[in-house]
């Protein structure tokens, strides 16, 4: 250990390239995954900004924004011990007509509006909730105003041909493609019925809190087994499912995989090259040890230990860099989700490539011959 580390420190300018390469690939992977997770976090916003423990939808709901209408009468099925008062939840794509004309896609989100309601989005203030009780009013996120051609509170647009009025602007529920239109259950029903009469006695989801959220998983399982025509998820499951669905559906994961692979490859090649060159530079010293009868595997061990340290130092330096760049990205309006699982994964992957690079560099040790010292 000490010999490898001592060499690294003494010839730090030589090894800097390898450390830099490891740092680069670790940062690249962590930030890419972070950005992607940040992006797809937007797909599960309705789930993440509610306080329900259970989400009940139609059969095979893949993502929260792809719910199909289910009979509102299913609400009785949630009458179970441990489950609190269930409530109706509307969520469906709709067509938005801008005040200036022109269309945009939007998502109508109709919920109960008291703070007690599990579905009520937590970004709504008491004032917003009060204002939304008036029929045909909506709130939208600051960042979506432009997409909807709205400028200020009081502006009007049309949803599925029915006029709505903007009564509040919130922040924290940015959309990916279809801006979220927050409104009351009554407003949502009216807007959705306009194009889909089923919604007169149907809803998209039934939501409930549990007495003990820890029991939500068990209850969801029971309900799903009992009623195969319903999907029943805990909030966590549904959130993850929504994100994963879009991540996979959009093939963004594949793009990410390729980019990460490229980053790893670049890191591995540079690290291997660094170690190779460093080993060649010490070839005469190693040859002397071999002449003295020191087993070659000791030198292999030294090179592998060096690759381990290069990996460890690179990964350690990557940690603050990822946080710094994540912070910069957030300041620029992006969203980077830095999770310890991702950091650990990136660390393991890059450490692995570094060790692999060490294995490749061992080829240089193989060719060292003591005879080369005799002239």
């Amino acid at each position: 250990m000490t010999y490898a580390l001592q060499t690294l420190i003494h010839e730090r300018s030589r090894y800097a390239a390898g450390v830099g390469a490891v740092l680069f690939s670790a940062v690249l992977i962590a930030l890419q995954v972070g950005l992607l997770l940040g992006l797809f976090e937007l797909t599960s916003i309705p789930v993440d900004h509610s306080s329900a423990d259970l989400w009940v939808g139609g059969n095979h709901v893949e993502s929260v924004d792809l719910g199909r209408p289910i009979p509102a009468s299913y609400i009785g099925r949630l009458n179970k011990p441990g489950v609190q008062m269930p409530e109706l939840y509307y969520l469906n794509f709709a067509n938005f007509t801008k005040p200036s004309g022109g269309y945009s896609l939007c998502t109508v989100v109709g919920t109960g509006l008291t703070a007690d309601h599990a579905g009520c989005p937590d970004v709504l203030t008491a004032e917003h909730r009060q204002l939304l009780t008036e029929s045909m009013t909506v709130c939208v996120d600051q960042s979506d105003l432009g997409k909807l051609g709205l400028e200020r509170v009081g502006d009007r647009g049309k949803v599925n041909g029915r006029e709505v009025r903007l009564v509040g602007v919130v922040s924290g529920i940015k959309s990916l493609a279809a801006p979220w239109l927050l409104c009351s259950q009554t407003t949502a029903r009216e807007l959705l019925v306009a194009v889909n009469p089923t919604y007169s006695d149907h809803v998209t989801y039934l939501l409930a809190r549990c007495d003990d959220p820890a029991h939500a998983k068990g209850i969801a399982k029971e309900l799903a087994a009992e009623y195969p025509e319903m999907s029943v998820y805990t909030a966590d499951e549904f959130s993850t499912k929504s994100r994963m669905f879009w991540l996979l559906r959009t093939k963004a994961g594949v793009a990410l995989g390729y980019a990460a692979l490229l980053g790893l490859l670049v890191g591995a090649v540079i690290t291997a090259q660094t170690l190779y060159a460093a080993t060649m530079a010490s070839a005469k010293e190693f040859a002397t040890l071999l002449a003295l009868g020191i087993p070659r595997r000791k030198i292999y061990g030294l090179v592998m230990t060096q690759s381990f340290w290069i990996g460890l130092i690179g990964v350690t330096l990557a940690y603050p860099v990822v946080h710094l760049l994540g912070y910069v990205a957030e300041q620029a309006g992006g969203r980077v989700v830095i999770r310890w699982e991702v950091l650990l994964g990136a660390a393991v992957l890059t450490m692995g490539t570094s060790l692999l690079a060490g294995l490749v560099a061992l080829r240089s040790v193989k060719n060292i011959e003591p005879m080369s010292l005799l002239r």
Partner: protein, 244 residues
């Protein structure tokens, strides 16, 4: 001088070695037979390309001869250096053989003491404290007591070569091979290197084989050989060597 000096410690028997074939064929050694004795410093001289390094490599177990034998005295009998397996030969070199080359080949990152310690730790699995103690004692004996913690960049050429000698001796090698050990040094430093090697022979009974083209060394050696076109001849014998 140790009593074992009457028995040769290293015997070469009709060594042959050629390089290349056809038009590029070159006989480096031809019918080389001679004995080396413990407690003596032997010098091998000869023109460039006469096969000196080739002979040193064959005697020390680094390069195989085409024909002939190298017999080394170990543990009360002779072992055939080129009759053993590669692994056995490496183990033999680890137990018995030390090298000094023209270049010092010291690790730039390590201190003088560490250059020696690494040999003990990696070669003999010595503990850190044991390796340090033995390395320090060796460097003290070579007059490098004040240089223990210096890295090669802080040492003079002569000091570096003495560290290299320490590295060759520290594991207790009984056979020391040196190929042009002084040619990068000035005469004063070169003389010091020779004296240290001679002391190792006389005080510890080591067999020392030095290749050089510098005839100024002759007075400092116990016996000298001359190699020309692959043929070996005796050049001189010091009065001390005649004692045996």
């Amino acid at each position: 001088m140790p009593s074992a000096s009457s028995n040769p410690s290293l015997r070469s028997v009709r060594l042959e070695r050629t390089f290349g074939d056809g038009a590029t064929r070159r006989v480096a050694l031809s019918q080389v037979t001679f004995d080396l004795f413990p407690g003596r410093l032997a010098l091998l001289m000869g023109p460039s390309g006469s096969g000196k390094s080739t002979l040193l490599a064959i005697l020390s177990g680094l390069l195989n001869p085409d024909a002939g034998q190298v017999l080394a005295w170990e543990g009360g009998g002779y072992v055939d250096v080129w009759g053993m397996s590669q692994t056995q030969r490496e183990a033999f070199r680890l137990r018995q053989v030390g090298f000094i080359f023209q270049g010092y080949n010291l690790f730039p990152a390590f201190t003088a003491a560490q250059q020696l310690e690494i040999v003990l730790k990696w070669g003999q699995n010595a503990s850190s404290s044991d390796a340090r103690r033995r390395s320090h004692a060796m460097l003290e004996g070579l007059g490098l007591g004040g240089q223990m913690n210096k890295k090669p960049s802080q040492l003079s050429g002569g000091e570096k070569q003495r560290v290299a000698i320490g590295r060759a001796l520290v594991k207790g090698s009984k056979f020391i091979f040196a190929d042009e050990p002084t040619s990068a040094l000035d005469w004063e430093n070169g003389k010091l290197v020779l004296e240290l090697l001679r002391r190792e022979a006389h005080e510890h009974g080591a067999t020392i084989f030095v290749v050089s083209h510098d005839s100024r060394m002759l007075p400092y050696t116990d016996i000298a050989y001359h190699l020309e076109d692959g043929h070996l001849g005796e050049l001189s014998r010091s009065p001390l060597a005649d004692l045996s």
